[in-house]
Amino acid sequence: MNTTITHAPVDIVNAEIIKNALQSAALEMNKTLIRSAYNPLIFDVKDFGVGVAGASGELWSDAPGLPVFTGVLPASFRTGIAKHGIEGFRDGDVLVVNSPFENGTHISDTAVYMPVFFQGELVAFTGSMAHWADVSGMSPGGWTVDSTSIYQEGIRFTHQRLYAAGVPNDDILDLIRENMRVPEIVMGDMYAQIATCRTGAARIKSLCEKYGVDQVRDVMTFIISQTEKALRKEISDLPDMTREVEVRLDTDGVDPEYKPLLRAQVKIEGDRIGVSFEGSSGVATGPINAGSDAAAAAVAQAVKGLLDPIGPANQAHLDIIDYTWPEEPSIVSPVSPAPCDSYGYVLTALTEIIQHSFAEIAPHRLRAGGYQMVSTYVMSSPKVPESKSYVFAEPVQGGLGAFPGSDGACQMFAADGDASNTPIEVIEMRYPILVKQFSLNPKSAGAGEHRGGMGVIRELEVLEEDSLIKTASENYYDTISRGAAGGHSGEPSQIELFFPDGSSEIHVERLSDTPVPVGTIVSTNTGGGGGYGHPFKRPVERVVQDIKDDYITIEEARNTYGVIVKIGSKLDFIVDEAGTQQLRSTF
């Protein structure tokens, strides 16, 4: 330990206390939102992010949720400041913004935030971004697969006041209530978000009371600059490199022939890290565009994982990257009225391919590629009366990449942070759905010295008439589950439909609001993660255990892993040592 405190401009004891207090304020906001929301996308899937920020919108702290949402909160505050001016806020204001051109995500991801005043002075902002159950627009549930303009996607908020100086803005609230398909849920969630803002604000006020506004501000400025220094040092310790990465998307959702390209040049030079998006496709006709703030936040998630994976984020983690954007509007920097509702694929792809580009220079922090996001919806068709209708929507977990020391995990895709699956017993009690199978799919995993994480097979049987399904998937043809250091890539996701008449279909593209008969089984087979290291380097005893565990077959052991195994007289597995050695020596 050779760090010494020399000339810290703030009291390092109070700095620790104030930092911890702001982190626990964010955690408390997180809990408030989870526990008071009405929409399973928030309380089960945790499709939200919270943050506290300084008076210029600089992020002070976040809490586990969607990293991208935290990443775009500063943009939400700053575009609000730009619109209203610092003088335009009053104590007790609560504002709402969801425009992709203000803060990057899609319209459903709605930020609700408030300025925090102490003794008449604006000292901070608190806010949350959460996926609303509906935002009006052409498709229920706040997710359009094939829109061609932002106007189809729903109602756009651009820093309107839900509360003005503590007084409810009834006209706006009324407008929201009148325009949503499920007003009770949307309003319930919105009030939960307001309670979340107020929870954070109360904590900041009491901190200012105890330590003084100036000290709180000075400490956070010091901590952010200190974080930047620590991150710059981490970058300096990495070898300089330039790498071109690209991934081609399957479709923009409208034109099946059009396959947009995401392209990034990542560069480490001294203590700088740069990402240029030059060469990425222009604005797509379909809704697969991602606002630049969201694209930047997806990159920042990968870079935080590279430089400082544990603990909350602050503004330094967002500002550490030098971005270069294409000169013309593009798929990662669209302008109004570009459709953006399916932006999530771009984010997941960016996070995965950028972290993957560093995986071999930072094998202690990063991993091989992980699977692209997958979600499945089962719901009533619009002709079912509202009182009897249901919507079951869930992201489905899959395989993440392997890394030295471990096989990959089977968890939610990178962009979805701390999201959880829905228990089978909960699904079956709540929805007219019978779950036939929920198991690992070993074939999906990328082989390797360390095997990629496995995808899952999740089979839902539809039990009610007039049901529709909708699916979300991408990157079937150009996978983002890329192997590293000689490991194989994981298999992509696909949806299989088994109809009651015995026929079946495999879909590798997204399905939009598709009616299915009772008895149809929707099997979501999620992709596996990439392997790390050549499969021939996997220890022989691990390969034998894999056979024993039904993760691989004897043929795969031989063909992929170079291990020759025979079944003995007691049905045990006997390794042909000499044959294995010879086979593996061909590598």
Partner: protein
């Protein structure tokens, strides 16, 4: 099932209770004389591989022979250590066809959202030992596919060939209908009576299949070794002519006979820290405090729990080592803060961080002189004079202040103001502790200023007032023999059985009758269990509660239902449950609409046989109070006091006032009375400290 035998009160001696609390490094023994209320504390060093012999050795030293003990209560970290260290049995798991991997897939969340190498806990049962069986229940408990008994036979035979020592069974929706699980368990035991079998519906009657599987597998994983341990302990006391059945602490704060504990070790995982909270509850009944923050201060962790409105705050899920356990447990929040916590500069924030890294018992703090080079909280206390280097652990150990100072300089620079840094370290350690208390108070809408604090454990007296001041708590109690308070608390534990059942229904007049019916069934089941222990039905008391939520929401709030309300008019009962739920919701989240529809998710019943309370009495010499020593102590930057008086705790008479700054010493515990605080002894022998704001 063995019966609990109640020995007639013997007129030749007062009844004696003994608690034995096995922790990580020590076994604590507390003997309570029911007649006089006097307590005797002893400690025996403990090592993981020789616990039974050490348990026995400690009994030898007690002033009362084991055969004169009437009640022996036992709590131990044996089960939790086995789980954390991965020293359990080879378990085979039988699950419903199609769901072999539920235990491995888990829930998919990644709380460390930026950590690309985050891994969930490794499943305790590898895939080749997880076998599926043809059977299926619906959410309503109807058999969609009957249990294929031949399939059970072939799968369990296969697992036995693979060398499993224990079988866990968890089928879908068994909380709604356990018949398939129970039949499968019978088949397993008929064919392989040597195996231990854990059945999910015997342990948890609540939904969420992964959490229920995890609970069942953990039980199975612990059961073979735990059974051996319990058998050995029982043999030790039988050989010493102890006549009753050992009462075993469980996570829910009650006790069960050791024979029952042997089949439900998963319910003992939280038994160690539970004792202190039970003790706090028992003291509360006497001191009149209805709201208490319980703080157990050890060397590496700080465990906090809450008594609110006279009730211990509980939870229904616990996570240990990333693995969930469903079941009622005292809600104890643990943070890495204690004497061993290491201080350093956090590279990413540039601020002074204390813990969660700990110097542990070895090398320990720098001042221990065992080679520790990094400064800890204990080192800071020595530097500031809060700890007397010559009187540590009852003078069993001498600390080296020079090494403590050298460690501070090594980490923070040669020219730093060592005392200023030491004060900073203590302040941060105390705010970390205060933040743990905020998690269980302010984060639930409770104001810590409305609570008293009860601080115990070896470090209970050192931090108590500092943490209390940070939170605005004005009354702090440090009980007698604070280092052994958890063991004392065990002596106050009741026999209790909890039963629960998940059955989703709306809270309205149509469904309320079936809820009352369920309460009756659950109470009967809990009663049946207590009767097998040898209790009489008239001694049993009941408590009921329901997990309620707003329809459409996920999170429930456990809401008590008064027993008397169950026999009142249904509309009155519904109104009472609704308003109590809404009141609790508003307290937790600040809002709650009393007109929204409500749903009951899980109903709960608890049957309790209260133990008789025995009051402690102060020990006192009756001499006039005079300090035994004086030393210089720093209570904060620019707050150094010379000649702070040091008192022996048993010299202080009831209601005699000691003004801070002062130190009150007791074997194994030092209590700091800072400036602006005053201390006295109450009629139960607690040291009661109060903050006097006017002095500020």
């Amino acid at each position: 099932m063995n019966k609990v035998v109640f020995v007639e009160q013997d007129s030749t001696h007062n009844n004696k209770r003994l608690a034995v609390d096995i922790g990580g490094t020590f076994i604590d023994y507390i003997v309570l004389d029911e007649g006089t209320g006097e307590i005797h504390l002893d400690k025996q060093p403990a090592s993981a591989n020789n616990l039974v012999a050490e348990f026995n050795a400690g009994l030898d030293r007690l002033p009362v022979p084991t055969e004169q003990i009437d009640t022996l209560v036992h709590g131990t970290t044996v089960a939790v250590n086995a789980l954390v260290q991965g020293k359990g049995a080879t378990v085979g798991l039988l699950t419903t066809d199609g769901f072999r991997d539920v235990l491995e897939i888990q829930r998919g969340g990644r709380p460390e959202v930026y950590n690309f190498q985050y891994l969930p806990a490794t499943p305790l049962v590898p895939r080749y030992l997880r076998q599926t069986v043809q059977e299926r229940m619906s959410a309503r408990g109807e058999a969609l596919t009957e249990l294929d008994t031949d399939d059970v036979i072939s799968k369990v035979d296969h697992l036995v060939e693979q060398g499993v020592e224990a079988i866990a069974i968890c089928f879908l929706h068994s909380y709604a209908n356990p018949s398939h699980e129970q039949r499968a368990a019978e088949i397993v035991l008929e064919r392989h009576p040597e195996l231990t079998v854990s059945v999910s519906s015997d342990l948890v009657r609540e939904w969420r299949e992964f959490e229920r599987s995890s609970t069942t597998v953990i039980n199975s994983y612990l059961q073979p070794n735990f059974q051996d341990y319990a058998g050995n302990i029982e043999q030790v006391v039988r050989d010493r002519k102890y006549r009753n059945e050992i009462a075993f602490m469980r996570s829910n704060g009650g006790v069960m006979p050791i024979s029952e504990a042997s089949s439900k070790p998963v319910e003992t995982l939280g038994s160690g820290p539970a004792g202190g909270v039970i003790g706090a509850h028992a003291l509360m009944e006497e001191t009149g405090y209805k709201n208490i923050v319980c703080a157990d201060v050890g060397g590496t962790t700080y465990d906090v729990a809450l008594i609110h409105d006279g009730e211990i705050v509980e939870r229904t899920d616990t996570i240990i080592g990333g693995r969930p356990i469903t079941g009622t447990a005292i809600d104890i929040v643990s943070v890495g803060a204690g004497g061993g916590s290491i201080a350093q500069i956090d590279e990413v924030s540039g601020s002074l961080r204390v813990g969660p890294e700990s110097a542990g018992a070895y090398p320990g703090p720098a001042c221990f002189g065992r080679g520790g080079e990094r400064p800890t909280v204990t080192d800071s206390q020595v530097i500031l004079g809060l700890l007397d280097p010559a009187r540590f652990l009852g003078s069993r150990m001498t600390l080296d202040k020079g090494l403590a100072e050298a460690a501070v300089r090594r980490t923070f620079g040669e020219n730093v103001d060592v005392e200023r840094i030491a004060n900073g370290i203590i302040t941060i350690a105390q705010t970390n502790m205060a933040n743990a208390i905020r998690v269980i108070t302010t984060q639930r809408g409770l104001d810590p200023r409305e609570f008293a604090m009860l601080s115990f454990g070896g470090g209970g007296g050192l931090f108590a007032c500092g943490v209390a001041e940070e939170l605005g708590i004005k009354t702090v109690l440090v009980p007698q023999s604070a280092a052994g308070f958890s063991a004392w608390g065990m002596l106050m534990a009741d026999y209790r059985e909890d039963q629960s059942r998940t059955a989703l229904r709306d809270l309205n007049s149509e469904s309320i009758a079936s809820m009352i019916e369920d309460f009756g069934t659950l109470a009967q089941e809990a009663t049946r269990q207590l009767l097998t222990y040898g209790f009489q039905e008239q001694d049993i008391q009941y408590r009921f509660s329901a997990d309620i939520r707003f329809k459409g929401q996920d999170h429930t709030i456990t809401t008590p239902v008064e027993e008397t309300a169950l026999s009142s008019d249904l509309e009155v009962l519904i109104a009472a449950m609704s308003s109590e739920f809404v009141r609790r919701h508003r307290q937790l989240y600040g809002h709650g609409d009393e007109h929204s529809e409500l749903q009951i998710v899980t109903v709960r019943a608890r049957a309790v046989v209260p133990s008789s309370r025995v009051l402690t009495k102060p020990k006192q010499s009756g001499e006039a109070l005079s300090p035994v020593d004086a030393r210089s102590i720093s209570f904060g930057t620019n707050e150094r006091f010379d000649d702070v008086p040091v008192y022996e705790r048993h010299d202080i008479a009831v209601n005699q006032l000691v003004s801070g700054p002062a130190v009150v010493d007791e074997w194994t515990t030092t209590v700091i009375v800072p400036p602006r605080w005053a201390a006295t002894i109450d009629k139960l022998g607690n040291l009661v400290m109060t903050f006097n704001e006017e002095d500020k």
